[in-house]
Symmetry: C2
Subunit: 150 residues, 2 copies
Amino acid sequence: MVLQLSIGDLAKATGTKVETIRYYERVALLPAPARTAANYRSYDASHLARLGFIRRSRELGFSIEEVRDLLSLSDQKDRSCAEVDVIARKHLEDVDARIATLQKLRHELDAIIRRCHSDTIADCRIIEALAPQMDASSEAAKRNAGRARH
Amino acid sequence: MVLQLSIGDLAKATGTKVETIRYYERVALLPAPARTAANYRSYDASHLARLGFIRRSRELGFSIEEVRDLLSLSDQKDRSCAEVDVIARKHLEDVDARIATLQKLRHELDAIIRRCHSDTIADCRIIEALAPQMDASSEAAKRNAGRARH
DNA sequence: TATGCACCCTGTAGCAACTACAGGGTCAAG
DNA sequence: CTTGACCCTGTAGTTGCTACAGGGTGCATA
């Protein structure tokens, strides 16, 4: 039995947009499939599996380049999976760093919002908190920048 | 006293790249400054303040469009700051959602990495976990996709 | 005076990872 | 035989910058 899928079928089967599939082909993540007489793309089971791998990796936040590396490693069954481990661990570190950054930002934002109980923009603490602090250090920055004239 | 800054001065004073400042001017976040006889941009204190506001907002993760809204609100001192509050709270929700997504992803990734203790790619659990699950549901997807022939 | 260097200008192209057309061709149902 | 859902290629848009290329300017130094 031979499985043949049109691009639309493959899109439905993997929850991917048709344009995205063509994009993966353009960037050589997904091999170009056979064509029908009418020049329609005709995918088989290997494309289905590969696109599934790509989508799952992308959902887990791997970049296109990382997916490319993982795919090429997964094709070499006899190699050590240490390299796979390195990619995955590095990615985990990236994710941890992004979470930490966002959490710091979240607390700052939360603190800013909590401070605001005023009615008008003129003394809105949110706007105030966003405005640069016009203190000694920024005066220093001004002087440092030079070209102040009277 | 009149403060005059070249684009490089302003860049140093705010920790922004020169190209980024020109970009903000192009997208009308920062008003076009006066020019010198040699057609050099000449910034004043208001630009310094505004760029500071922009940079701080961007650090807090507001999009360019959100910053535009915040800036235009901050220029209308007599208006209610309720709108500012709405923008900030919505942004906080976005940040919370992004943190939640990343944390879910982090746990999944961590679980995948922990499972792998093998030596070769052939039975690497990371690669396995990334590959699509070839179970009943994906068989259903295949049938659903149609055009399977023998 | 020349000359080097750091700075400034405009305009355009590139990055990631798609997404969205425009302007066609194909195919099956009614 | 027409309608509508699909398919094709190619190009441009998205976000927020960043990086040239190919010029001009301003100041210090040999």
